[in-house]
C-alpha cells in the first residue's frame, strides 16, 4: 500500500492528498448549503476549485511550521489537518468551534496546528507571517512561516514591505499567492499590469516560482523547494499558484463578471476530477479506493455537521471575555 510512486510519494500519501482535497471541496459545498439553510451567519468565501494549492502547500510542511491565511481560508486550515467538526461548529457559532464562536469564517485560528489565522483584511496576514518567520528564525529549529494570499492582495502595500523585509533578513518565509484571476468581481488584469505575480519576486531579490495551482503535486514540489531553501537559511520564496475559484467571490455572488466559457475551461482542469483520474491511471490506485475515500469524507462531514449542530451557544457573558488576556475583574475594560 505504501509503494513509492514517483520516487518520493507513496500511494498512501497520494491518496491522502486526494482525501484532503475532497474534504475541502465537500466541506465548502456543504457549508454553502448549511448557510442557505440558515445555520451560518456572516460571510462565506468558498475556495472551491483552489484545493490543490492549499493541499499541495501544506503537504510540503512540517509540524513546526506555521501558516497565515486569508478570507478564503477554510481550505488552508483543512489542508493543515483541522477538524471539520470544530470548523463547522465555529461557523455555526457554537462554543465547540475553534474560537468559541468569536471568530467565524474570517478569523479562524488553531494554534495547535500552527494555523495563526484567517484574515478579513486583504493582505492583512502577510505582515504577521513576516513576524512569524522572524520568530522561526530566532528559534533556530528550522520552522518556516507560510503566508497565503490572493492576486488582489499582491497590490497591497503590505506585500511589498514584508517581502522586502523578509528577503533582507533572509527569513524562512514562503509567500504563496493563489492567483485565481479575480479580486472580488474585478479581473486581475484590471488590477495590475503584471500578469504573473511571481515576476514581482525579483524586486526583492528572491526567487519567484510559478506552480500549476490545480496540480497538487506540482504545488507540493515547488513549495517543498521553497521550504528547503528557507530551512537552509537562504531566505524566502514567492510561489504563485495559478488557479481559479469555481464559485463566486462569496456565497451569493452570481459571477456576472466572468467571460463566457471561462469557468467551463477551468472545470476541465478541476483538481477534484483530474487528480483522482491520475491516481487511477498513472499511479495505479484502485477505483474502489477512490470510492472508499469519497464515502469516508461524506461520513466524516456528516459527523462534523452533526457535531456542530449539537453544539452549544456561548453564554452572552462570554462577550466580555478574551478582550484582554488578564481582563480586569474578568470584564472588558471600559
Amino acid at each position: 500500500m505504501t509503494t513509492a510512486v514517483d520516487g518520493r510519494l507513496d500511494q498512501e500519501t497520494l491518496v491522502g492528498l486526494f482525501e484532503r482535497m475532497l474534504l475541502i471541496r465537500r466541506f465548502e459545498e456543504r457549508a454553502s448549503e448549511y448557510r442557505l439553510a440558515g445555520h451560518i451567519p456572516g460571510f462565506l468565501h468558498p475556495c472551491i476549485g483552489q484545493e490543490a494549492a492549499a493541499v499541495g502547500t501544506c503537504a510540503a510542511l512540517g509540524p513546526d511550521d506555521v501558516i497565515l491565511s486569508t478570507h478564503r481560508g477554510h481550505g488552508h486550515m483543512l489542508a493543515r489537518g483541522a477538524d471539520p467538526g470544530r470548523m463547522y461548529a465555529e461557523l455555526y457559532a457554537r462554543v465547540e468551534g475553534y474560537n468559541r464562536s468569536k471568530g467565524g469564517s474570517l478569523h479562524m485560528i488553531d494554534t495547535d496546528l500552527g494555523f495563526l489565522g484567517a484574515n478579513g483584511i486583504v493582505g492583512g496576514g502577510i505582515p504577521i507571517a513576516g513576524g512569524a518567520a522572524l520568530q522561526q528564525k530566532r528559534r533556530g529549529q528550522g520552522g518556516v512561516a507560510v503566508s497565503f494570499f490572493g492576486d488582489g492582495a499582491a497590490n497591497q502595500g503590505a506585500f511589498h514591505e514584508v517581502l522586502n523585509l523578509c528577503s533582507l533578513w533572509k527569513l524562512p518565509a514562503i509567500f504563496v499567492c493563489e492567483n485565481n484571476l479575480y479580486g472580488e468581481f474585478t479581473a486581475q488584469s484590471e488590477q495590475s499590469p503584471v500578469a504573473d505575480v511571481a515576476d514581482r519576486a525579483a524586486a526583492y531579490a528572491m526567487p519567484g516560482v510559478i506552480a500549476d495551482g490545480n496540480d497538487v503535486l506540482d504545488v507540493r514540489e515547488k513549495v517543498a523547494q521553497a521550504v528547503a531553501r528557507a530551512r537552509a537559511g537562504e531566505g524566502p520564496t514567492l510561489v504563485e499558484c495559478k488557479t481559479y475559484r469555481h464559485r463566486g467571490h462569496y456565497e451569493g455572488d452570481m459571477c456576472a463578471y466572468r467571460p463566457e466559457g471561462e469557468l467551463e475551461q477551468w472545470l476541465e482542469r478541476d483538481p477534484l476530477v483530474t487528480f483522482p483520474a491520475r491516481l487511477v491511471s498513472e499511479f495505479g490506485v484502485p477505483e474502489e479506493e477512490i470510492e472508499a475515500v469519497r464515502a469516508q469524507v461524506e461520513q466524516r462531514l456528516d459527523e462534523a455537521a452533526e457535531f456542530a449542530a449539537a453544539g452549544t451557544f456561548a453564554d452572552p457573558a462570554e462577550t466580555f471575555e478574551h478582550v484582554y488576556v488578564d481582563s480586569i475583574e474578568g470584564k472588558a475594560l471600559r
Binding site: G42, A93, K102, G120, G183, T186, S192, F320
Partner: protein, 330 residues
C-alpha cells in the same frame, strides 16, 4: 416625493452630482461594472465613462492618495472605502495629508474630496468588518465628518459633501442601506453643520446618529407608554457639531443620553457628553448617559454580537434610569 432606499439615495446623489459637474469622479474597489460591493455605483460607469469612474486595485492608501492628488488639481473625487475598517490602511493619506494640506499650505491648496465609508455590523460580520470608527476622524482637525440616518439626509448631505471645499468623511451605516424614506424630487445640498430634532420631547434628549436615531425613535415610542417624553436629536454632522442645536434641546429637557453603534469608550458620544458637561452644565438635571457598543471587538456569534451592540432595550432602560435617577435627586 416618494420613498426610496437609503442605498438608492446615495446612488442618486452621486449620479446627480456627476451630471452637474464633470470634475466629480469616483474611485474604489469593484465600483466599475460590478457597481461596488453593495451596488451603489451600478450603472455609473456606463453612464459617465472611464474618465469618471475608476475601478481600482485593492490598494486603499493609493486610492485615497489618488483622490487627494486629483482633488488638489481640480477634481472632486468621491472615494468608496468598502468598510471603514479598511480605512486603517489609508490613515496616512487621510490624516497626515488630506486633512492638513489646506492648513500646512497656508491656504494655498485644498482637498475637496469625499470618502464614503460603510460602517457598522451587517450581522455577524465579526472583528474586521463591523467597526464604527467615526470618532477617530472627529479628532483630526481639517476633516469634516457626516453621519446621516435617513435617505433624504443621506442624499442632501452627500451632495453637500461633494460640493464642500474640504475633505469630508461620509459614513454610511450598512444596516441602514435597506431602510426607506421619503426623498424630495429636488434635493438641495444640506448645510453640513446642523443637527435636527426628529422627535420632540421634554424629559430627556437622546443625541443619536445613523442607526442610533432609529433605535432612539423606537425607544421613544416605548418610553412614551411609560409617560417618559424623549426628544430625539439627530446629530447628523459630527464635525462641525451643532452646539446650538444641542443646547436648544437640553433647554427643553435637561437630560442627555447619547447613542451610537461605535464603542462607547472614546466614541463620539464622549465628545457630546463632554460638550454638555462643559458648556451646558447648568442645563443638566441628571448625569449624562452614553449608550453604544461595549468595549470588545465584534464577536461573530449573533447572541454575543447583540450583547455587545446597543439595543432599543438598553436605550429604554437607560432612559428610565436617567429620568428616575433625577427624580430621586430632586
Amino acid at each position: 416625493m416618494k420613498p426610496i432606499r437609503f442605498a438608492q439615495a446615495i446612488t442618486q446623489a452621486l449620479d446627480e452630482e456627476m451630471a452637474r459637474d464633470e470634475q466629480v469622479i469616483l474611485l474604489g474597489e469593484d465600483i466599475g461594472k460590478p457597481g461596488g460591493s453593495f451596488g451603489i455605483t451600478k450603472g455609473l460607469l456606463d453612464k459617465y465613462g472611464e474618465s469618471r469612474v475608476y475601478d481600482t486595485p485593492i490598494s486603499e492608501e493609493a486610492i485615497v492618495g489618488a483622490a487627494l492628488g486629483a482633488s488638489m488639481m481640480g477634481a472632486r473625487p468621491v472615494v468608496e472605502i468598502m468598510f471603514n475598517d479598511f480605512a486603517a490602511l489609508a490613515m496616512d493619506q487621510i490624516v497626515n495629508q488630506a486633512a492638513k494640506i489646506h492648513y500646512m499650505s497656508g491656504g494655498r491648496l485644498s482637498a475637496p474630496l469625499v470618502i464614503r465609508m460603510l460602517c457598522g455590523t451587517n450581522g455577524s460580520t465579526a472583528g474586521q468588518h463591523s467597526q464604527s470608527l467615526e470618532a477617530w476622524f472627529t479628532h483630526v482637525p481639517g476633516l469634516k465628518v457626516v453621519a446621516p440616518s435617513t435617505p433624504a439626509d443621506a442624499k442632501a448631505f452627500l451632495k453637500a459633501a461633494i460640493r464642500d471645499p474640504d475633505p469630508v468623511m461620509f459614513f454610511e451605516q450598512r444596516m441602514l442601506y435597506n431602510t426607506k424614506g421619503e426623498v424630495p424630487d429636488e434635493v438641495e445640498p444640506a448645510r453640513l453643520a446642523e443637527g435636527k430634532v426628529v422627535r420632540e420631547g421634554s424629559d430627556l434628549t437622546i443625541a443619536a446618529y445613523m442607526k442610533g436615531v432609529h433605535q432612539a425613535l423606537e425607544a421613544a415610542e416605548i418610553l412614551e407608554r411609560d409617560g417618559i417624553s424623549a426628544e430625539v436629536w439627530d446629530v447628523r454632522s459630527l464635525v462641525p457639531f451643532d452646539r446650538d442645536g444641542l443646547r436648544a434641546s437640553l433647554e427643553r429637557t435637561g437630560r442627555l443620553m447619547t447613542v451610537h453603534e461605535a464603542v462607547v469608550r472614546s466614541g463620539f458620544g464622549a465628545e457630546i457628553a463632554a460638550i454638555a458637561a462643559e458648556e451646558m452644565f447648568d442645563l443638566l438635571k441628571a448625569p449624562v448617559r452614553r449608550v453604544g457598543a461595549h468595549p470588545t471587538p465584534h464577536p461573530y456569534a449573533p447572541q454575543l454580537e447583540s450583547t455587545m451592540l446597543p439595543s432599543v432595550e438598553r436605550i429604554v432602560e437607560t432612559a428610565r434610569e436617567l429620568v428616575g435617577a433625577t427624580e430621586k435627586v430632586a
